[in-house]
Amino acid sequence: MNQAEKLPDPNTTPLAQFDLSDPRLYEQDAWRPYFARLRAEDPVHYQSDSPFGPFWSVTRFEDIMAVEANHEVFSSEPTIVIGDLTEDLPIEMFIAMDPPKHDLQRRAVQPVVAPQNLAQMESLIRSRVAEILDHLPVDETFNWVDRVSINLTTQMLATLFDFPFEERHKLTYWSDLAAGSPEMAGGNVDQEERMTGMMDCLETFTRIWHERKTREGGFDLISLLQRDPNTADLVERPMEYLGNLVLLIVGGNDTTRNSASGGVLALNQNPAEYAKLRANHSLIPGMVSEIIRWQTPLMHMRRTATRDVEFKGKQIRKGDKIVMWYLSGNRDENTIDNADEFIIDRSNPRHHSSFGFGVHRCMGNRLAEMQLRILWEEIMQRFSFVELVGEPERVQSNFVRGFATMPVKLHPL
């Protein structure tokens, strides 16, 4: 596909002419029939040409799990998006490392988001969510993405890091910079701006680290890192410190933000599900999982073959890129019944591919679920209907599946 032209017909175009890396497929929400065809006709598919070079697409749920389970052959190094790294900034992120190094770094920060710690944060998070919702205009159109989703996740990040609250917009800014480079994911962020921003992020957090050293007993992520013997001197390893920060900021930003918007869209498109929710608020935890499945906020992760290997009858060569399309796994009828439908009371809602699998499986999944659960619990205490009153606009990326705007109107209880 030439990315300047119209998207090709998904049903008649030869598979060889599909470009799954084309961000317009996602911006225009046109991807479904392309992936349905791949799952049916060529589930492990080689694309010989793209703006990011050739790559394999793995589109079935079971095959995605099989790739993730085999981290010796399917490596997360050097990077986990379709495009290659272009910058000179050697940020060390364990999402793009293999065991044993990955395990050491992840083990050090994982306890920070363990459910006991999260429980300590729940009431603060709830009061901030309530505050946001109580200040929304009623019976007037506004942009849900800005006023709620971004505001909420930014506040949430500030809360998690105990970041200066007035400067919290910086967190969102850095997250957008880190996630949006065009070489990596088809986004539109300037390379120089990105470098400057990342250095600013590092400096700011280095200052915070030193200030916080003298304080005791905090439950924020920085204090927790300082108390763990494995990370107590993390600040001495700046690129690793920055890497972990960026990972936690990006991990907890776009993903939760777009789930907070995606839920509104899904409920508006499925009024019968919205009615079920109104009648029974105890469906919220299961609905949160279903929203995360249905939205698939990160559409893929990439691996790189460390040797020649045969996979599902295909000959993969050393150095080949393998893209696991979670977006497609989540629509795989072999694994998920009525996969294209949004159903808030599924019997097994946690069985989805949005958090990935294996040793890299999303570290923040409980945190994300908690935030979204609280959001919907508080929404349902206040509004009978978050009404979508216009077409949402989607972001341009082949990695983050998200919304730029979403016009809504609130109807109080």
């Binding site: 389970a69 065991p99 306890p111 459910p115 946690r350 699998f357 409980r366």
Partner: protein
């Protein structure tokens, strides 16, 4: 049918008649024992079916392979007794086994 006891973190105990040939995870779910999520459906790929095998049951229940080890390595609450219950196939030798469930799955 071997009898297996699963003890929740809060202390509530569930004794089940387990079906041989099925995994411990599946048996726990079939008997509505709370405390196991099993997000990946038993593929050793999510780590949310974590449990602790009590006492001397290790020989009969088998040992964790490399993949299971890797997944267990990510649990902050991992101990010597940690196993993924989807990787334990129930057999008659497990009659009387006691398994504790963790405070949380993640």
């Amino acid at each position: 049918m071997p009898t297996i006891t699963l003890i929740e973190h809060c202390g509530t105990s569930h004794t089940i008649e387990a079906e041989t040939g099925k995994t411990l995870m599946q048996n726990a779910l079939d008997n509505m024992v709370p405390g196991i999520d099993a997000d990946c459906g038993g593929a050793c790929a999510c780590g949310t079916c974590h449990c602790f095998v009590e006492g001397d049951w290790e020989p009969a229940s088998g040992t964790a392979d490399a993949m299971e080890e890797a997944m267990l390595g990510m649990r902050p609450d991992r101990t010597e007794q940690s196993r993924l219950s989807c990787q334990i196939e129930v057999n008659d030798a497990l009659d009387g086994m006691v398994v504790r469930l963790p405070e949380y799955q993640m």
